[in-house]
Subunit: 349 residues, 2 copies
DNA sequence: TCATACTGCCGGAACTGTTCCGGCTTGACC
DNA sequence: GGTCAAGCCGGAACAGTTCCGGCAGTATGA
């Protein structure tokens, strides 16, 4: 077991200096600090008050305080993390990196100062680099809601390709042939998955993909409405649309009600959901659902098991998503709906 | 400053015994433990590793791991708590009481073991007693999203009476006279406030309250639909309804779309919202909005300021709510809508 | 030129709290 | 009455942090 005194001996300084170096106090020369940190890293130093190891994991938000605006997702994920940590009697502390992590401090050093033995990293945009850096230091960590090419990075992510495919297959099964894809215009692995699932289902059924039936817009209700308008203005409009974002789906369904497009009689709609959004719209929409709570649960469970010694080496898990069928999908209509100038609706074969 | 050695001296035992008593180890007699705990309480003992006080507050969930199912509320509140704690550079750790609090352990003792200097208590059902007990021990604490008669209890709660009143006044201003109240059938201070606001607005305008226009049902979409049906079956149905729960409002709006009742042309609806639910329905509904994030922010801000010495004595704050007008309210129709047998809609004067 | 003062860096010691080990007392049992 | 076990407690050794003072090097001023 490593301790400040051991490190002090091996480096040839006093325990006071070791403590200062570890806690980022100014009164240490850069050269001494480096030697101490190196010794701490190589001996796997883990601070402990008294003797008891402190059973706390951190939930790390990379950018500022926890962001709102992700709907239920964060709440559910947090709930899962807390439950997962519970199983091994761990507590959860919320850490935000950019508040008081010193620039010259290593992640390991920082997390030790915070008194956590491991961290769950909430993936936002471009968190992958961060996760790689932390993993490279060897600090126990797992990223949640994103994946990484880096083999050292542990993660739990949603796998939405197969369910996206299943969603489109569902539409094909009930007779739809012109199926549109309305996608968030950001290129990440998640959205690539959804597009891939869409393509696979079409190919499998022997349907040609019509590039005109793929539209992109920012996530959000306005984007959803815009994409709907655009698709319905096509001279041979789709009879079904697959939206890859919850709020886009909401916007599109609202727009349908405004225009008088009857869902699902005139048009079938499948969306995405993280939480309960699909149950708030009219009609409730058929959706590919991510299990946000399950992600949190698995991540925290793996991390705490790994810390208590009873876990496998790495975790690179793709969590399954489910297709929940509600009232926004039904048999392909004989007459499709087309949107004309002046927001006029015409039904045509 | 109090320490284990001071306490050991004053009680007349060894530091080892003090530590054991404080940490709930078995090898201490009940009598000794009592004397130690009493000394710790009276001297305001606060454990510290080394010298530095640990700047962490706890977010306490009384029953088990954090519950999902409150929609955005918890996510937003948490976000607020973290931001509020940020200002004084505090961290937040999530604590669930019924996991590892020993039965014979005081709350103070438990929280010290967890290493937090103060707690924010998330009010669920009947948390008021808990908050009183913690306050009685003198541990720094504040309850969030509920209020208490106990003068020792600090809290931040929503004040929904005045805005409920404003909501009903809004309906009266645009010509409505028969305004119904659809309320969650649980009697707590919060719902009492909403009912009081309703009554005050009616009284102020010289309108008689019709008891037939008050209905109660469980919170949730089904309850909302039931209440809507019941009200519209009245021989002299209301032209506007005030719902005091977000999900009830959702259910009622869905039911309107099913029945062909046009909102707001046939019927005006005002609901409640904690987060973004009002923006998910069609039409988006006019709502009395609680600022969940603001509650969290204020609570954590007060607590951390109080802990760092720059705060007033107690906090008994009622946070303001706001009336957000959306598309579910408009001028009182000349012909009202009545629901007949067989779900037939008739319009009558 | 030399005394003085300041700054950067570090060590000793004193402080915080926890746990191991051993000892004392008490009571039960053969 | 001897023995054993359990309950309770103290000493000491452990964990890490911080205060205070010292040492060296450098700048400053008479």
């Amino acid at each position: 077991m490593s301790s400040v005194r051991k490190i002090a001996n091996s480096v040839g300084v006093s325990v006071a200096t070791v403590s200062r170096a570890l806690n980022n106090h100014p009164d240490v020369s850069a050269e001494t600090r480096q030697r101490v940190l190196e010794a701490a890293r190589s001996t796997g130093y883990n601070p402990s008050v008294g003797k008891r190891p402190t059973n706390v994991i951190g939930l790390v938000y990379p950018t500022g305080p926890v962001q709102a605006g992700y709907g239920d997702f964060d709440s559910l994920m947090l709930s899962g993390v807390v439950r997962g940590a519970n199983e091994q009697r761990f507590d959860v502390t919320i850490i935000n990196l950019d508040r008081d992590k010193d620039e010259f401090e290593s992640y390991t050093q920082f997390f030790h100062r915070k008194g956590v033995r491991g961290v769950v990293i909430r993936a936002l945009e471009a968190t992958s680099v961060l996760a790689s850096e932390i993993a490279a230091e060897g600090f126990p960590s797992i990223m949640i809601a994103d994946r990484s090419e880096d083999p050292r990075v542990n993660f739990v992510d949603s796998e939405s390709k197969s369910t996206s495919r299943k969603a489109v297959e569902h539409l094909i099964d009930i007779g739809h042939k012109r199926i549109a894809l309305a996608i968030h215009n950001v290129q990440d692995s998640d959205h690539q998955d959804r597009e891939d699932g869409y393509c696979q289902a079409l190919a499998e059924a022997g349907l040609e993909r019509d590039e005109d039936l793929t539209v992109r817009a920012p996530a959000g209700p306005e984007g959803g409405a815009m994409m709907l308008d655009h698709l319905l203005q096509h001279e041979d409009p789709p009879t079904a649309i697959f939206f890859t974002n919850p709020l886009s789906t909401v916007g599109a369904l609202h727009r349908c009600l405004q225009l008088g497009v009857r869902v699902p009689k005139d048009l079938s709609v499948i969306g995405f959901d993280d939480g309960d959004v699909r149950l708030r719209t009219f009609p409730n929409f058929t959706a590919v659902c991510q299990d946000a709570q399950g992600l949190g649960l698995e991540a925290a469970r793996w991390l705490t098991r790994s810390l208590t010694g009873n876990a496998h080496h790495s975790c690179r898990e793709l969590h399954r998503t489910t297709l929940n069928v509600h009232g926004s999908t039904s048999l392909c209509p004989i007459t499709g709906v087309r949107l004309m100038a002046g927001n006029q609706i015409v039904r045509q074969v």
